[in-house]
Amino acid sequence: MSAPRPSRARVAGVLARAALGLYPPAWRARYGDEVRALLEDSGAGARAGASLAWHAVPAWACPPRHLYDRRGRMRASLATVGMAWALLAGLAAVFVQLAQAQGQVQAATLARHPAITWSYWAFDACLIFSVLAVAAGGAPLWLVMLRRARHRREVACLLVPAVVPAGYLVVSVAVFALFRGPVRPVVPWESRSVVDLANGGVGPRWFLALVILGLAAAAVSAAGPGQALRRLRPNGPVVVLAARAAVVAAVTMGLAGVASVAAAVGLYLWAPAYAGYHVAWPLAVYLPAVLLAASVAVVSAVRGIRAADPPAVA
């Protein structure tokens, strides 16, 4: 076995770190050092990096049983679902704000496009159901964690979902109080982006800043309980209940996202009197963001429930 050349070893290290970063933490902890050693010995190349990257997919989808931490999987899934759900909720709020702008101009048009109306109904129903599922499944777990929290940092993590949205609300109100100008009337056939037309009077820049801040606040709000799950490691029926509720919440929020996308596409196609919806870039940003977050939420929720109710081994 010849000693590897320094440059080759360096490349091997870089490739290994990059490709191994794609694997689940438990897999990395168990096999990471061995794979690095193998790459150093064999001389890592593009093929080795590509092969490692490719096999990371089944390592996530079907983790080997001896590395499978059922309770840890449930907690990790809950944290991921929480993050994706919060982002979807933020995107839903953006959709509501932008869709409201159509006002009376589209009222008659909408009546002639049942697909848009149905999408709104589906969006509202799914959103309400999803929020209820989060409350029903998340509240007991949150209370159990709050009781178990011993350190100030753990309590802070648990209070983040209340404090951060409240802070965001205060900032939003302040921005609207300070910078709100006259609301432009919606002019039919005016070909400007919906963000220009439906920003609530604060202008597109402040509106986009509030959107980005809102999505960041949603992510931080979800990260707090996620961090608490990692630190407090709760177990038992409340976690199973939360995992089951997470499936309902993720699926319904995903459906709400899909309904909003359907409505947005419908407005783009069939809202002839409101040219603001015919500017494509907001849709081009919104659509992939919703689909990505919904996919992550649903896949992670399913992984969590599979961990909660593992299939019987034959």
């Binding site: 076995m1 490709a19 897999w27 168990r30 096999y31 050092d33 061995e34 794979v35 690095r36 050693a37 193998l38 790459l39 010995d41 064999s42 890592a44 093929r47 080795a48 590509a50 092969s51 490692l52 990257a53 490719w54 096999h55 990371a56 089944p58 390592a59 080997p64 049983r65 001896h66 590395l67």
Partner: protein
């Protein structure tokens, strides 16, 4: 697309066959398989196989101070390899017999 007729070279079987010689670490396994079975296993494939075989209890890791942890075949792994080898032997002997009879193949 080219038809795959080399399914006999399933990586798990190759790894089991390699470990039938004795405990080996990852690099030694790939070298052995390349030298004796003329199949090149990439790092991703090898460790995907190792993790599955370990999960099924067909191989087990040995203690090592080094990062190069060796693996050995378990009793269950040896049984599995024996069963698979027997099947391959049957297929090979039938194929060779028919080739001799119908195609005049004299053997390698």
């Amino acid at each position: 697309m080219r038809d795959r007729l080399d399914r006999w070279a399933d990586p798990p079987l190759l790894v089991l066959a390699s470990l039938a010689e004795g405990p080996k670490h990852g690099y030694a396994i790939t070298q052995d398989i390349a030298d004796t079975m003329v199949v090149s296993l990439s790092a991703g494939t090898l460790y995907a196989v190792i993790s599955r075989l370990e999960s099924r209890g067909l191989i087990e890791p040995l203690e090592s101070d080094d990062r190069r942890r060796p693996y050995r075949l378990t009793a269950a792994g040896a049984r599995e390899l024996a069963e698979q080898s027997e099947r391959m032997n049957q297929v090979a002997s039938v194929a060779q017999q028919r080739l001799r009879v119908n195609y005049g193949w004299a053997g390698a």
